[in-house]
Amino acid sequence: MLFAAEETAEHAVEAAGWFLENSWLIPLIPGIAFFVILLFGKRLPKGGSEVGIASMTASLVIAAGAAFQWIDRVDSSHGEHVGPVIRQWTWWQSGGTKFGIGQHIDGLAVMALLLVTFISTLVQIYSTEYVKGDRRYTHYFASITLFSAGMLTMVLAPNMVQLILGWEIMGLCSFLLIGHWWEERANSEAALKAFWTVRVGDIGLLVGTAMLLGIFGTLDIKGINEGAAAGDFGAQSTLMWAAVALFIACIGKSGQFPLHTWLPDAMAGPTPVSSLLHSSTMVVAGVFLVARLYPVFHVGLEINAVGQTFNLIAVIGGITLIVAAALAFVQNDIKKVLAYSTVSQLGYMMMGLGVGAWTASVFHIFTHAFFKCALFLVAGSISYTASHHSFDMKKDMGGIWKKMPITFGVWMVSTAALAGIPFFSGFFSKDEIIDSAKHADYTIFYIVGIVGAFMTTAYMTRATYLTFFGAPRGGAAHFMGVEQPDNEAHDDAAHDDHGDHGDDHDAHGQDDHAPVPGRSFPFAPFDSPWKITAPLLILGTLAVGSGYLNAPALGIHWFEHQTESSIGLPIAEGHGEEAADLAHAGEGDEEAGTAAEGEDEAEHAAAEGESADSAIFTVPEAPEFKWSAAAPGLLLVLAGFLTSLFLSFAVFGKRKSALTPLVGLTQRSKPVGAVHKFLVNKLYLDHLYEKIIFRGVAYPISKAAYWFNQKVIDGVVDGAGRSGKRTGEWVYRNIDQRLVDGAVNASGMVASETGHALQPVQSGKVNQYGALLFGAAAVAAIVLILLNV
């Protein structure tokens, strides 16, 4: 059925190009590269990294080709619905159930493919410098290549099974990479924590997939989406529970509250891993899942239903947003600040999906990937060059902006994007989410969004100040050439920190000291080597420029146009010709909207059309951008920046100011100290999970299981053995000895007794012989007579 559908789709629109049809190569090439690196990497001159980079570049080329061809396809569709390019090969078929492995390429997939391949390539180039000389260099590249293969498999999955396959491969690679330096206990525990926490969520994925199969009878994403959009399911509540189950998986994977605890601990891995997996690509897999199956969530949780003030996705997203931002304030580790920032931004994306702002959230995935990856790579660059492999802001950083201008510049640009400062990329995406919340009458989430913006700016300013400004400390002091009174103590402390951060610097005599850092750019002599700095530059540029692909403020809706077909599913015939008319009207208006003005009315008409849910399935269009509407948010951003700046100067700086008495407030004041302690202990969530739930549930269960094993199972086994033994003994005594031997002995005895009985006949006595003779003759004669009578 699907292959037939594929052919009709191709005939409907002109045949898709080579790149689009062969996009299945994109995950396959890194997959093969994984095996090549694993088997041959150690023998290759560059330790396998060349295979990894080559495979990612090849995938990038194909992804770029596919992107071009997709854009071409959309542009030439002239307002018709652009069907996805689906190709499936049967993977498993039994009875009536059948699912395949292949590709499902539409705008969303193309965006994600391009994003993942691009960032993977940059990160792999970065890694060749960063983990140079590492003891498991080849395995690192194998794992990171496998991760890319897994994410790409998930992104272009045409059915839920392949999606789960990619999901799980990513989970595995996350575990492998977080625990890359597993010799330290903290690192291996962080890897396990990441794996188990996401696993808890994966229960929801499996349950949800099973429910979807039960509701729609198919595992194909296209079928599921069309079914959900057309209302082809039984009860609304069933779909809702399926959506809830799937969302639980997203909570785990995308680090939403309350399963976010693994993400900050995941910073134990090498920094390129954090930048690739735990900021730009893997953690957005949950958001991607919601975006991919959006009709299920939209219909199931009745997002944008008239009168709804909150729903599960938006609430979780909102809570995550605020909680993570609050926790980012009390971190001393720069990577942990960025980790909480990632969690917070993921909360934004989820909240955006929860209020119906599909395009905004997807676009935020796109822009966030660039600037967050840039931020992490900057942190890695600083640790590589400036802070002597430490990530502690308070102990080993400060005042390095003068000596590392490019790194500082990229950081500032990315921070600006993150904070949502106008005309940087984050502004276009994050602000659209906040605007949509307000426009869709989810007022509370609007407030949450702008408070979050305030907090984001505030903690990033704090981090910026601690990292780049102020007096150089510890490792940074060494880098800046500034003498410190207790340099050696700081060196030891810095070395201790290495244990925490798990850099390849724990034991001295490691070969990480041996490799010589590469050459830096000539225009930035003190920045990190070029393999580190070049990706920084590229990402920084994108942090600024990528936002312009979809800027409502400037009337650009190009990105939206390219990806909307992922959502704008045609409802099957039989649902009314009015729906078809409205559909054509909506699409026609959209096409006009891509031109210039007049789009707003069309968008509102389309929005109204879908809110009745009988027209073509779309989500509410983003509201028209007005500077006046964006003003409150921008003002809060500015307020956050200034507040934080003053506080930073006051608390961390040397100059006295009006806010100086605030120094040491957390120690002096009990309530403030309590709040601080609450935040530092990560809201005691870890305590709850590990000590209370885990110990309270797992220990009794394990004790019961142990008791059952020893007493019941072993008892049964032992009892069987004992009874077998006793049976054997009884059989031996009674049957073997008495019966069998008795029979044998008896037969012998019969023979001997017969002999004994017959012995008197041979007495040797003549008289007796005579008696026998005549007696026998008499008997025989009698018999003869009797016979003849």
């Binding site: 008197p760 041979q762 007495s763 040797g764 006595k765 003549v766 008289n767 005579g770 008696a771 005549f774």
Partner: protein, 99 residues
């Protein structure tokens, strides 16, 4: 007269001779009982010759007499041998079988 008389007489002699063979302990007495038996057989033969008016019965009876004589001669020689070896001719103790 009736032929049955001779035959019954011989039957009686035969039975008495059988009893003697079984009951007597002395070897010589057993031989005597055997003589009784042989004579009864002779009587039977003569009676049958009389019944069938055939002379063959007489011939057989003479054979039996001759054979009986030879047998007694040899038998008594054996008894004498036994007596010489064991000093007794009681048939009870003449057994070397373990029955």
């Amino acid at each position: 007269m009736y032929a049955v008389n001779f035959l019954l007489l011989s039957a009686a002699l035969f039975s008495i001779g059988v009893f003697g063979v079984i009951a007597r302990r002395n070897a010589v007495m057993v031989l005597m009982s055997i003589e009784l038996i042989l004579n009864s057989v002779n009587l039977n033969l003569i009676a049958f010759a009389l019944i069938n008016n055939d002379i063959d019965g007489h011939i057989f009876a003479l054979f039996v007499i001759a054979i009986a004589a030879a047998e007694v001669g040899v038998g008594l020689a054996m008894v004498l041998m036994i007596y010489r070896n064991r000093r007794s001719i009681a048939l009870d103790g003449l057994s070397e079988m373990h029955g």
